[in-house]
C-alpha cells in the first residue's frame, strides 16, 4: 500500500502506511518516525507513531498542509532502512479470574466458549509490540487468535483498573494506569508497566515479543496484585 496523507485537524496530518497489523507496515512506520524525529524539523511539534499510521502536529503559522506533506514525504523517501535488532521476549504474569476479568463472561457468551478456552487462546500466542500510546506504558500488541477477535465495548468504561489485560479487534494490551477505556477485559497483571525509571516510561517497547503466563490468584496477590 502506498503512503497516504490525510487531514487529522487544522494543525495535524496523519500518514497511513497500511490498514492492517503487519510487521512490515510497522517497520515502515518506525523507519519514517525515526527519520522525521532525527530531521528535527522546526515547527513539527509532535510525531506520534502507531501500528500503521504516523501523526504530525505542526505549526500552522509556519506551514500549510501541502507543505508538511511534501516535507514529510521527502524525508521518508530518503530515510535509511532500519537495522535489524535482537527482539527481547517479555513474560507477563496474568491472573484470569472472574473478579478481575470483567468481560470474561460477556466473551464466553459472545464466543460460545468456556473461560478456560478463552484464556488458552490468549496465552498461546507470542505477541509483538507495535505501538506505545493511549497512555504512557500502554503497549499495543498483536495479533490475537481470530477466534478471540472482538469489538470494543459500545460505551467505554469510565474506570478500567490498573493492570487490566484486555483485547479489542485482533489486539491485546495492558492498562498501565487506572483510566477510562473500551477494550474487553480478560484478566489482570501484577506487573508494573509504567514507571518514571523505565526507558520511555514503559516496561515494553516497540519490537518486543510478549507472552502471557496464567497465574493463580495466590500468585497474583503474592506478586503485589490488587483485586
Amino acid at each position: 500500500m502506498k503512503r497516504s496523507y490525510t487531514i487529522a485537524s487544522e494543525t495535524a496530518l496523519i500518514i497511513y502506511f497500511g490498514d492492517r497489523i503487519e510487521p512490515l507496515v510497522s517497520k515502515e512506520v518506525q523507519r519514517a518516525y525515526k527519520a522525521l524525529k532525527q530531521a528535527n524539523i522546526e515547527g513539527f511539534f509532535e510525531l506520534i507513531p502507531s501500528y500503521a499510521s504516523l501523526l504530525i502536529q505542526y505549526d500552522i503559522l509556519k506551514y500549510r498542509f501541502e507543505q508538511v506533506r511534501d516535507m514529510a514525504e521527502e524525508c521518508i523517501e530518503k530515510a535509511p532502512l532500519l537495522e535489524h535488532s535482537e527482539q527481547k521476549i517479555v513474560t507477563i504474569p496474568s491472573y484470569y479470574g472472574r473478579e478481575v476479568g470483567l468481560d470474561l463472561e460477556l466473551l464466553c457468551e459472545e464466543k460460545n466458549l468456556s473461560s478456560d478456552a478463552i484464556v488458552s487462546l490468549h496465552v498461546k500466542e507470542l505477541y509483538s509490540v507495535y505501538a506505545i500510546g493511549f497512555a504512557p506504558g500502554f503497549a499495543y500488541m498483536g495479533e490475537i487468535d481470530e477466534a478471540l477477535s472482538t469489538s470494543r465495548l459500545a460505551s467505554p468504561r469510565k474506570v478500567v483498573p490498573k493492570g487490566s489485560v484486555a483485547i479489542a479487534d485482533r489486539q491485546t494490551a495492558i492498562y498501565p494506569l487506572q483510566s477510562p477505556g473500551g477494550w474487553k477485559i480478560l484478566g489482570r497483571t501484577p506487573m508494573v508497566m509504567f514507571d518514571a525509571s523505565y526507558e520511555g516510561l514503559s516496561r515494553l517497547h516497540v519490537g518486543d515479543l510478549v507472552r502471557f503466563e496464567p497465574i493463580s490468584k495466590e500468585a497474583f496477590l503474592k506478586m503485589g496484585g490488587l483485586l
Binding site: 485537524s9 495535524a12 504516523l54 483510566s179 473500551g182
Partner: protein, 305 residues
C-alpha cells in the same frame, strides 16, 4: 519567595501551563489549560510569557491566603471572586496585602477560571511543563490536585497599576455554542446521512466530561465500523463509538485510540466547549481546510499573547 497557602482546595484545582510538547510519542498526554484563551489573558495582563504556570479552578470553591503582598490576575469562568470578603472584578489585576484571602464561589457561567501571578509559580518542570496530569501523576503539586495546606511559591511581585482587559475582548461563555469542524480522519466511514445528522443536529453536554474529553448527547451518528486500527489522536478530535454519540478529545486525551473519527474541532474553538456547563447546547459547523487556516491566522493576529 512569596505565594499562597491553600486554605480550601475547591473541587478540582490544579497548576497548569500550556502543556507538554513532543511527548505524545511515549504516550504522555499534552495536558495544559483547558481554556487557552482565558489562560493566555491571565498571563498577558501580568506581562508574563504565554507559557507561564497558573492555577486552574474547575467549578470553584478555592480559598487562598497570600503569604506576602502579591498581584494576581483572574480570568475565565465567573466564580464571584473576592478578596478579604470584598467582591472583585474579573479580567483584571488585583493586589492582595499580606495575609489577605482570595476566595472563589461557584461558576455562574463557564467551568474553568484562572489565577495568574507575575512570573508564574515555582513548580519544577516535568517533561518541559508544570502542567498537572493527575492520571499520570505528573506536574503541579506532586501530580495531584491542590489540597488544603499546599504552599504555592511564587515571586511576590506587586504591580504598581491595575491592568484591565478591554470590555470587547472579554469572552462570553455561552451555553449555546457553534463549533467549527474540519472533516478528516475516517470521515469516509460516516455516510451522507450520518454526516447530515451530525452537522444539522443540536447536541447537549450533560456533564459527562473531564479534562480528557467531553461526551455529547443527541442524534446518533453511527459509523460504518465499530473500531479501527488504533491510531494517533489530536486535540479536538471527534471520535464516535458505536453508541453513536460524539466524544470530543481535549487536553488530557489519550495519544492513540481506535474509535472512528469524523474530524476535529478547530483548536481555537475548544475553549468554548471546555467552558460549557451541563445542559449546554452545541452545533457543529463544517469548514474547509482553507477556512480553518484563515480563522486560525485571524485568531493569532488578534490575540498576540
Amino acid at each position: 519567595m512569596s505565594g499562597f497557602e491553600v486554605i480550601h482546595p475547591g473541587v478540582l484545582c490544579s497548576i497548569q501551563d500550556a502543556g507538554r510538547k513532543g511527548v505524545n510519542d511515549i504516550g504522555l498526554t499534552q495536558s495544559g489549560a483547558m481554556d487557552e484563551l482565558s489562560f493566555g489573558y491571565a498571563n498577558m495582563l501580568l506581562g508574563n510569557a504565554f507559557n507561564t504556570s497558573v492555577i486552574e479552578i474547575a467549578l470553584g470553591g478555592l480559598v487562598l491566603r497570600a503569604k506576602e503582598a502579591i498581584s494576581i490576575a483572574i480570568t475565565g469562568a465567573d466564580m464571584s471572586p473576592s478578596i478579604g470578603g470584598r467582591s472583585i472584578e474579573m479580567w483584571q489585576t488585583h493586589t492582595l496585602k499580606k495575609g489577605e484571602e482570595l476566595s472563589f464561589g461557584f461558576a455562574s457561567s463557564g467551568h474553568f477560571a484562572y489565577v495568574g501571578v507575575v512570573g508564574g509559580f515555582d513548580i519544577p518542570l516535568q517533561y518541559g511543563s508544570a502542567s498537572t496530569s493527575i492520571k499520570e501523576g505528573l506536574g503541579g503539586m506532586k501530580g495531584r490536585k491542590l489540597q488544603a495546606g499546599d504552599r504555592l511559591q511564587s515571586f511576590g511581585v506587586c504591580l504598581c497599576e491595575t491592568r484591565k482587559l478591554h470590555q470587547k475582548q472579554v469572552p462570553y461563555f455561552s451555553q449555546e455554542i457553534r463549533l467549527d469542524v474540519l472533516k478528516g480522519y475516517q470521515e469516509h466511514l460516516f455516510d451522507k446521512s450520518a454526516q447530515e445528522t451530525f452537522f444539522n443536529s443540536v447536541y447537549t453536554y450533560k456533564g459527562e466530561g473531564d479534562r480528557m474529553g467531553y461526551r455529547l448527547s443527541g442524534e446518533k451518528v453511527i459509523p460504518q465500523v465499530s473500531g479501527i486500527l488504533s491510531e494517533p489522536i489530536c486535540y479536538g478530535a471527534i471520535q464516535v463509538p458505536s453508541h453513536g454519540e460524539p466524544i470530543v478529545l481535549l487536553k488530557e486525551r489519550q495519544t492513540i485510540g481506535g474509535y472512528p473519527k469524523i474530524g476535529s474541532i478547530l483548536g481555537i474553538d475548544c475553549f468554548k466547549l471546555a467552558q460549557l456547563k451541563p445542559g449546554g447546547r452545541i452545533r457543529f459547523n463544517e469548514v474547509s481546510l482553507e477556512e480553518a487556516r484563515n480563522k486560525v491566522l485571524a485568531f493569532h493576529t488578534f490575540f498576540r499573547f
